[in-house]
Amino acid sequence: MEIIEIRNLSKTYNPKTIPVHAVNQVNLTFKEGEFTAIVGASGSGKTTLLNMIGGIDNPSEGEVCIASNNLTNMSETQKTKFRRDHIGFVFQSYNLLPVLTAIENVEFIMEMQGRPVKERHSRSKELLSAICLSNRLHSRPGKLSGGQQQRVAVARALAHKPKFVIADEPTANLDSRSTADLLDIMVKLNEQEGITFIFSTHDQRVVDRARRVIVFEDGSVKEDYNK
């Protein structure tokens, strides 16, 4: 089943002076359960594309539909609520609230949604054990390594069972060992939970683990293949 449909999506900076087409007339669809890497050099427009898919940035043209909800027509408030309920995010850094413990960070969105305590606890414990951090439930991010922090971020992104997870260069700041661990976990969770992952990277080791690869160049899709 297709959960994301992108039609004629464009993003143009400085449209009046010197137009820069960060994303140019992109058409893409993503199916449920896919594990997709968007590959491209920095400046290729992949972050802008991911931001538009996640409703963080507004397209100049075209539209993004998620499970037949047209993001482009939503108000800022509606979009924010939509992101909270249906999309998970993992960023390159600054993912976690430094004042909350690992488990509190994972629970954070569910708590904002007003889910019952029991459900929250069991779900976050389950995820923290899946990412092998059962022994660090009550550590704050400052006490965790970069790789551990990114794993918590993945758990946080999945906790409320979103329709899909967007991860923009999740491994950019990690060493190769942590990168491998993080990808193991992403792959495992993608299989266990059946949640769609879309992540950007320019690291060949990460690309190797993806099942679908979209090569992005100068704001357009250059290649799109399944492995």
């Binding site: 972050t47 802008t48 931001n51 996640g54 963080i56 940035d57 800022e76 408030t77 924010t80 609520k81 992101r83 909270r84 309920d85 999309i87 995010f89 960023f91 390159q92 850094s93 600054y94 993912n95 609230l97 430094p98 004042v99 909350l100 954070f108 969105i109 708590e111 904002m112 946080r156 992104a157 923009d168």
Partner: protein
Amino acid sequence: MNQLIKLAWRNIWRKKRRSVITMLSVIFAVVISVNFRSLQWGAYDKMIEAGTKNSGYLQVQSQDYWEDKSINELIEDHVNFRNQISSVPGISSVIPRLQNFSLAASESSSKGALVIGIDPESENQYNELNSRVIKGSYLSENENAVIIAEGLSNYLKLKVNDTLVLVSQGYHASIAAGKYPIKGIVKLPNPQMNRMTAYLPLTTAQAFNGAEGLVNAFMLNVSDRTQVNATQLMLQDQLGPAYAIMRWDEMHPEIQKSINTDTTIATLLLSALYLIVGFGIIGTIVMMALERKREFGMLQAIGLQKSQIQTVILLESLMLGVIGVILAWLIAFPIVNFMHNNPIPLTGEGAKSFEAMGVEPVIQFAIKPHLFALMGLIIFLIMLVASAFPLTMIRKLKMSEVIK
């Protein structure tokens, strides 16, 4: 909401040193300003007390008396009239007086004097005049005797049991003259009064002035000073337009003005303090917001509404302020309370400046809950102003620009 409160609470302890210094500055400003103003209010209360001791909180007079204080503007002292006055709620005592300027003379010299006819008992109940007698004894009702103030007795070189001669113009231009044995000498706190006052029993004063059954004023004591305005209105209603009801602050405008000047200067000085402390708080909160731009972007991306992020920020600044203010109250109150219960007597030149106004020369803090509330409110407002920057920043924040 609980979630947001938890987040705000933890955030203020994220940079402990900074939050503690900010709270200390709040505590400093509130403790200083509450104490400073309590000290001043203590002095104001003393001034008001000194003024009202000699005038009452309210006075009933004939309509035109206050204008020229003429001996011809008198009112009848009748038991029904006194009852009518005391029937108004809030009035605790009614003290009649008949006063007139007069030339007071001894064998050797003479001096202008203020001769006040008093009802010895009710006067004493109100202002403890008896306790101010330093030689001889206090007056009793109807007797033909006078007590004079210390300064006047020195000037006229008169002692207890000497005779005082009073000459004046009495009621309706009659000649007022009399000789009175001096029964006692009183030391009055107001130096001006101490130089010129003589007290006669009311009936003796009425006879002297040729004004039998007449008084120029009833001094009234009230049970609640803060309700004086309301009592004044009710009394005016009760007595009708033939009488003037004067409030203490109308009779002693100098006290009110003195309080006003003092308050103006204090307000300017404390504004400077709050301005500085306020800037410090604004600086802290602005820095806090600027440092956390990315965090705000991230929160919005993962699904917090801007209004929710703004709530967190507002809660953070209010918590800083509220904790600071509560601690400041806890520190300020014992100090104010101690200085209220243990007044410090003044000596030297400082004492003279109090005495010149007839005010007891002590430093005694007043306990005024409104000062605590006011200083708390100022901090609260500073916190709201300080939050304006981060709140605007969040409103204008573009997620895609701050997260990466």
